[in-house]
């Protein structure tokens, strides 16, 4: 968010849609670091809400929890993960018990955990990158 002519000096992991990220924040790497940091700070709470709701067979809360975390991934340059969350949210809408979602749930918790790891790695890289420019 710092101007229209910007450089792409930082090399993001290929799993991150850097074009999407630049469309949101341009080359404001400090701010991208902040976004990743905020995401990580709240990630476990939101992730645990998903697990708790699933284990309690509370589909309404499960749907709400996945809905809440969904845009986080868009904000972190992972629109595909956001889309996967949307699909899972739709599954929750149709299901009657959490058992019906077993395979989709197992897949999504893996996706979420991998995404967190990816964001954390990029966050540390960004921190180092930004500290070199201060």
């Amino acid at each position: 968010m710092s101007g229209s002519n910007f450089s792409k000096k930082f090399i993001f992991n290929e799993k991150i849609d850097s074009d999407y990220l630049y469309s949101l924040y341009e080359d404001d790497y400090q701010y991208i670091e902040e976004i990743f940091g905020t995401t990580l700070a709240h990630f476990d709470e939101d992730y645990n809400s998903i697990r708790t709701a699933y284990e309690a067979n509370n589909l309404l809360e499960l749907k709400k929890a996945i809905h809440k975390i969904k845009p986080t991934f868009g904000f972190c340059g992972l629109p595909l993960v956001q889309h996967i969350c949307k699909e899972f949210e739709d599954f929750c809408q149709k299901a009657n018990t959490s058992n019906e979602l077993k395979s989709e749930y197992q897949q999504i918790v893996i996706t979420l955990a991998e995404s967190k790891e990816l964001i954390a790695t990029e966050y540390n890289k960004l921190k180092e990158f930004n500290s070199n420019f201060l």
Partner: protein, 230 residues
């Protein structure tokens, strides 16, 4: 002078991003950020703001519940990741609908809609020969030429056409800005009429297909100006 605004959003990263966008615009002063409807309502009922950035699904009550309970109606920009809410956005007459995440450019477009004077912010609805209203869970097309008049019924309005009546959740004040002004004119705080359907005018009433409609003193001169009196 900046607009005052409040952000109601349970996702911290989205709220932070909105604050950043507001600051960058230099047009908005963020008065507060709330993560649930109850806290937001408590603030908004004590403090008036110009603009409300409102998420829909939050813990507890929804953003639409907040709008239902709010004593006044600021400009509302919905921020959600669910495009399915676009229909409700239409129903609640919100200024814009931002799908998360959105670019700063898209945010600016929303602000442009805030700055557009009332009545000019939806050219398609004011310039076309028809409108759509929500009725019985569907959107019903009404041709301007078929509408005789629109009558206020508190929080609802009644569209009276040649052969049918439709009741929908809306207000005369809101509709006044939305209908095609070439065809329609407000004649009373409770009535908008199709100017082409007037049969006759007597004193402070006009008649359309046997319906007697009051014309207020404040609107009478405007009505007479629009008639082709020879």
């Amino acid at each position: 002078m900046k607009w005052t605004c409040v952000i109601v959003e349970d996702l911290q990263v989205a709220a932070d991003y909105l604050v950043k966008c507001c600051e960058k615009s230099a047009l908005l002063q963020v008065k507060g950020h709330f993560t649930n409807v109850e806290e937001a309502l408590d603030y908004l009922n004590k403090n008036s703001v110009d603009v409300l950035f409102l998420d829909v699904e939050m813990p507890g009550a929804t953003g639409f519940d907040l709008l239902d309970q709010l004593a006044y109606y600021p400009k509302v920009i919905l921020t959600t990741s669910k495009s399915e809410y676009a229909y409700n956005a239409f129903e609640y007459n919100v200024t814009d609908f931002l799908k998360k995440p959105f670019t700063y450019q898209r945010f600016q477009e929303s602000l442009n809609k805030l700055t557009t004077p009332a009545g000019e912010n939806n050219i398609s609805s004011t310039a076309t020969d028809h409108i759509f209203i929500k009725c019985d869970g569907k959107l019903v097309r009404l041709n301007n030429d078929d509408i005789l008049f629109i009558e206020s019924m508190g929080d609802y309005v009644k569209f009276v056409t040649i052969d049918k009546k439709y009741i929908t959740h809306n207000t005369i004040k809101n509709l006044e800005e939305k209908v095609n002004r070439q065809c329609f004119i407000k004649v009373h705080r409770s009535y908008i009429i199709n100017i082409n359907k007037i049969d006759d005018i007597r004193e402070n009433d006009l008649f359309i297909k046997g319906n007697e409609i009051p014309v207020s003193k404040a609107h009478k001169a405007d009505v007479l100006k629009r008639l082709n009196i020879i």
